[in-house]
Subunit: 308 residues, 2 copies
Amino acid sequence: MSSVTAADTASNAFRVNTLAVIGTGLIGGSFALALKQAGCVGRVFGVGRQPETLAQAQTLGIIDETITLHEAASQCDLIMLASPVGTFGPLFEGLSKALSPKTLITDGGSTKGNVVAFARAALGERIGQFVPAHPIAGSHESGPQAAFADLYRDRHVVLCPLPENANRAVEFVGAAWRACGARLVTMKVGQHDDVLAAVSHLPHWLASLYVEHVARDANADLNLQLAGAGFGDFSRIAQGSVEMWRDIFMANRDAMLRQLDDLHDLLGQAREALKAKDEAWLETVLAHAASVRREWGERQKHESGRGK
Amino acid sequence: MSSVTAADTASNAFRVNTLAVIGTGLIGGSFALALKQAGCVGRVFGVGRQPETLAQAQTLGIIDETITLHEAASQCDLIMLASPVGTFGPLFEGLSKALSPKTLITDGGSTKGNVVAFARAALGERIGQFVPAHPIAGSHESGPQAAFADLYRDRHVVLCPLPENANRAVEFVGAAWRACGARLVTMKVGQHDDVLAAVSHLPHWLASLYVEHVARDANADLNLQLAGAGFGDFSRIAQGSVEMWRDIFMANRDAMLRQLDDLHDLLGQAREALKAKDEAWLETVLAHAASVRREWGERQKHESGRGK
């Protein structure tokens, strides 16, 4: 009783009568299951191109029935776009043909600048009905069978309200994500793309290119024979889905190029310091980086402890 | 019985009557304990600058008694140099003043080119008595209390024989490391430094500079707030000892500069590919890196399964 907080009250008050999930895999399916578990959704509809995926989602209790994109646009209170970002252009076009003024749209795409561009091109003056979001959560698995109600519990969801969004729209979509158990962080679209480029896309880029460098080296076989735990940690993310990461890099190209230029400057300074035997420069940077990383790790431990 | 292999026979035949360990911490202490456990060492002597460390090593059964550097050089069959690499210059100088022709020296330093240069400068024509080694094993802890007999079990030890080494010397030192349970890999000095720069020093360099980049960014606070598990894996090694890594980078400067130049070329190509929207280039490199990393991970799993 005494543990009921303002956030709980807000989620309890939230209710969506009709939800359409476009793409009923890990991201969309977990969104639907989370709202069902929270008891704040009426009927859940599924939209998708593959009948067998929709049938599976229905069997698993993720969706109650299947509808068309046109029906979703004209009849539902909330639409969650959860298919690959590459499909968003045609989907926004389709939605725009029948969009009811009472319908709000959110999404689960991992880049935002390009998604908002697709939405603006298709929705025009109705762009205020779209409240972009990016849940920082995932899994190595995909498809309806990978979806689970707690995917977003205690995970960050970035909300990127647009200047055209009414407060009521932002609050409604934010409440839906909070009802999934997520911790909301609000940013501008460009800032989201810069931050994600820095902490997610750039490490993947560097890990992949580093592994490629090691494998192209004259000593490639010996390199891989002697590589140990540090190599393993540093390069683990290079195993991710090739198509997904290619698409992310292309979609977030401008922010990536900014990040790469800044990093390139720092790498150049470091190389000069090493060449000039500037031990003080190296020590200062190594010490600062070690302390930043250590504090981050401590905070993660603390937060994951609090979350459970 | 049928499991006795040529390697076992070689270790069983190996015996060192008098061993001196210079530096009785994790690396030197574990070497002594491993040979004691294997039952192939007579008396173990400790050499060091800190009497309390030597006393602790003796209490822990790592060494049997303490001697001077001069006594170690003139009386012992094998000397293991296991203090920080920065102390090796004066130590080789000291050893050279009293070195018996029957004494062999090995070491546990993580760079080899600079160590061999120290040794050549001090030992001159007696350089053949030094067989350089680098055990790829360690721990976050240090000191005699961190030492344990199985530190080297199933770990790689790189042996870097010099042109001046007699076969007998290389075999004797190799047998000592094998008796510790290690898997020997033989390389030339320069090749060792290139390989270690590629798979150990370069990842640490990149992880540290990447964290520094993220922390210097305009969105530093948001970056660290949204950073997730991928960031954590990629940057974990940036927490290592600042002094140790500064020294390693300086000691292995030439190989690091070669690695940095090659990597810099690849990073430049990747940036151009992104800028030119060359999706095919990106996909090819991402796919190759992912498959190299996946195969490496599979092999590690296989080997660690075999090792235990």
